[in-house]
């Protein structure tokens, strides 16, 4: 919690839409503007010392949500509140100083680092941008950031170029560059999906430790197994909305939304003897331009009833389970 007991980050009814061109014929025929409804009313919160996993399949809007939080994309409506400050209303100058407190790590460690910058330069860059510290002070901050992410001794790594590092080491450098400003919120967009299995635990371990030290972490992932093991809370997204959210173990062990249940049933398990009731949904997620009426999930839902095509369910807490909410009229 932050000073006054509220979560550090609070997002309320976030909406992000992209208009698509109508083309010449569309303009002549006066067809209505169509939009890609990337995010359609997402509300979530992340507290200090908490890791929230935002899970979902491609096109569900999780990456757009993360980018909207940091105002890297525009927001159409809704509020994003960081430590009580409304992020969407800030000017460019105010935003710049807020950027020091919220950082993002990207999915691709091979593209995250400028190939022409040595490690020390990459990690020092945030300090240079925000004009912090003298040269020797920066060197010290860089060294401690590198050691914090396990790249020790720091001198050995500081002078290297990205092409001399492995994927896991590059990702550590990216994390170090994010930590050097001392952020309070870290958004990690699929931080390990492009890394070999044997190095993932190392990176996730760093995020785990940072969370224990009081950082608020929002992890975007499609990997439910990782979310189950590392996150405190899980938010499941489908087609721009959160359909279920709650404490991680509860969502995994007692899923309430039919989409969550289906998703969990098809996650491959380690044990070859595991016999699952596999629920494979047919078809694929519809494109976010034509959102189904009523409940977004009803065309693919195994337990849909007539009412589902008319009512758009809201996220509501389950009776008796605190903090576990689901958007389904049949839950």
């Amino acid at each position: 919690m932050s000073a006054n007991g509220r979560p550090l980050l609070e997002v309320e009814d976030l909406v992000v839409r992209y208009p698509i061109g109508r083309g010449l014929s569309g303009a002549i025929l006066r067809r209505p503007h169509q939009h890609v409804h990337a995010v359609s009313g997402v509300s979530l919160s992340v507290a200090r010392g908490e890791m929230v996993a935002l899970v979902g399949e491609s096109g569900c809007g999780k990456t757009t949500t993360a980018q909207a939080l940091l105002r890297l994309v525009h927001t159409d409506s809704g509020s994003v509140s960081f430590d009580g400050i409304d992020v969407t209303a800030l000017s460019q100058g105010e935003l710049r100083s807020l950027r020091r407190r919220m950082q993002i790590i990207y999915q691709d460690p091979y593209e995250s680092l400028d190939p022409r910058f040595r490690v020390a330069a990459t990690v020092a860059e945030p300090l240079v941008i925000h004009d912090i510290g003298s040269r020797s002070e920066r060197r010290d901050l860089v060294t401690s950031a590198l050691e914090q992410v396990g790249l020790a001794p720091a001198e050995l790594f500081a002078d290297r170029y990205p092409h001399e590092l492995s994927g896991g080491q590059r990702q550590r450098v990216a994390i170090a560059a994010s930590l050097v400003l001392g952020p309070e919120l870290l958004v990690a967009d699929e931080p390990v999906s492009m890394l070999d299995v044997s190095v993932r635990a190392g990176i996730l371990g760093i995020l785990d430790e940072l969370r224990d030290q009081g950082l608020a972490v929002l992890m975007i992932t499609h990997d439910l197994s990782t979310a189950a093991r590392f996150a405190d809370r899980i938010c499941v997204m489908y087609l721009g909305r959160i359909v279920e959210e709650g404490p991680a173990r509860q969502v995994i062990d007692d899923p309430q939304h039919p989409y969550t249940r289906a998703l969990l049933s098809v996650v491959p398990r380690r044990d070859p003897r595991h016999r699952a009731e596999v629920q494979i949904l047919r078809g694929e997620t519809p494109n976010p331009i034509e959102i189904p009426s009523g409940c977004r999930f009803h065309p693919r839902c195994p337990i849909a009833i007539d009412a589902c095509s008319e009512t758009d369910p809201k996220l509501q807490a389950k009776a008796g389970a605190s903090g576990h909410r689901v958007a389904c009229i049949r839950a």
Partner: protein
């Protein structure tokens, strides 16, 4: 025993690698035979241009022999229509031709590079406006435009440089714009922006270093274009009357009726000089561009040509 977590990966020895600048700019040339030959050729002419004064005694245009004397031990390439030594004239011409070529290419590179980066980085209306401008310049036929401007604004060397420079930048602009657009989308640029970096910093520290090798490669090609352009402008009679360039030598040869006098040594050598320099620049420029654009490589397409080892016969012990 069960697996134990032993902490962060140890740092292994870093392989000795050279910096990226070496690998992308210098290495491809030094490792390609034809590029090396081209570089040697270009170096030779640059040497002539720089140290020409030391090789020529006196005024290269001075009459030192008879008109249209054929090549002999005294005059290796004979004399021109004014009795001046062709060798001296060619060396003097190297300085002017190369100077015009390099300067004009530099101007084109600067204009084209700037337009390309600004257009590619900012996109939107700026991009559209600049691309319209580029299109106008592309559409105008270069030769007639050069003739018109030369005729209007006088025939000094500097004018020629400017004329060539402002015609050829469009090609560079498009190339650099495309490269800038792709670099702008790279994750590390977006990351720097997310950290709070301003546009200036993004362009100078992140975009420019990625775009510069291509710009350099393209500028070398531009030198070839520029030298060729200077040659025919001057040949058409629009060049600087007081400057000796290879184009002027060819022009003089024609006005002095070298062909009728069968004085091939007055016409062909300057043409050859232009050709060699243009060829050298083209090869070097192309080699650099090929090295920078890995998609042009097609070696990976030749699969199915692997070798199979026959099992070694048993050796009697």
């Amino acid at each position: 025993m069960s697996p134990v977590q032993t902490g962060a990966p140890p740092a292994e020895e870093a392989p000795a690698t050279r910096s990226l600048r070496w690998r992308s700019v210098a290495a491809p040339i030094l490792q390609n035979k034809s590029a090396l030959v081209a570089l040697a050729m270009l170096a030779f002419f640059v040497f002539l241009a720089v140290f020409g004064d030391l090789l020529i005694a006196g005024d290269p245009k001075a009459k030192v022999g008879d008109v249209f004397e054929p090549p002999s031990r005294e005059f290796w390439l004979g004399t021109d229509g004014g009795g001046a030594s062709m060798v001296d004239l060619l060396i003097a011409g190297a300085r002017v031709s190369l100077l015009i070529g390099f300067c004009a290419a530099a101007i084109s590179a600067v204009i084209g590079g700037t337009v390309g980066i600004v257009s590619g980085f900012f996109g939107g209306k700026t991009d559209t406006a600049l691309m319209r401008l580029t299109d106008y310049f592309l559409v105008i036929p270069d030769v007639p435009l050069m003739i018109v401007i030369a005729a209007l604004f006088g025939r000094s060397t500097w004018n020629i440089i400017v004329i060539i420079g402002i015609i050829y930048w469009t090609f560079t602009a498009r190339l650099i714009r495309a490269q800038t657009k792709s670099v702008r989308e790279r994750v590390y640029v977006q990351r720097a922006r997310a950290l709070g970096a301003g546009n200036t910093r993004l362009i100078v520290r992140h975009v420019l270093p990625q775009v510069t090798p291509l710009l350099v490669a393209n500028t070398v090609l531009l030198i070839a274009y520029a030298i060729f352009a200077e040659t025919f402008i001057t040949f058409l009679g629009l060049g600087d009357p007081s400057a000796i360039s290879w184009g002027r030598l060819i022009e003089n040869a024609f006005t002095d009726d070298a062909i009728i006098n069968e004085a091939w040594w007055a016409v062909i050598p300057p043409g050859l000089c232009v050709m060699f320099v243009v060829l050298a620049c083209t090869i070097i420029g192309q080699t650099m561009e090929d090295a920078l654009n890995p998609r042009l490589r097609t070696g990976h397409l030749s699969v199915r040509r692997f070798r199979v080892l026959r099992p070694k016969p048993e050796v009697e012990s």
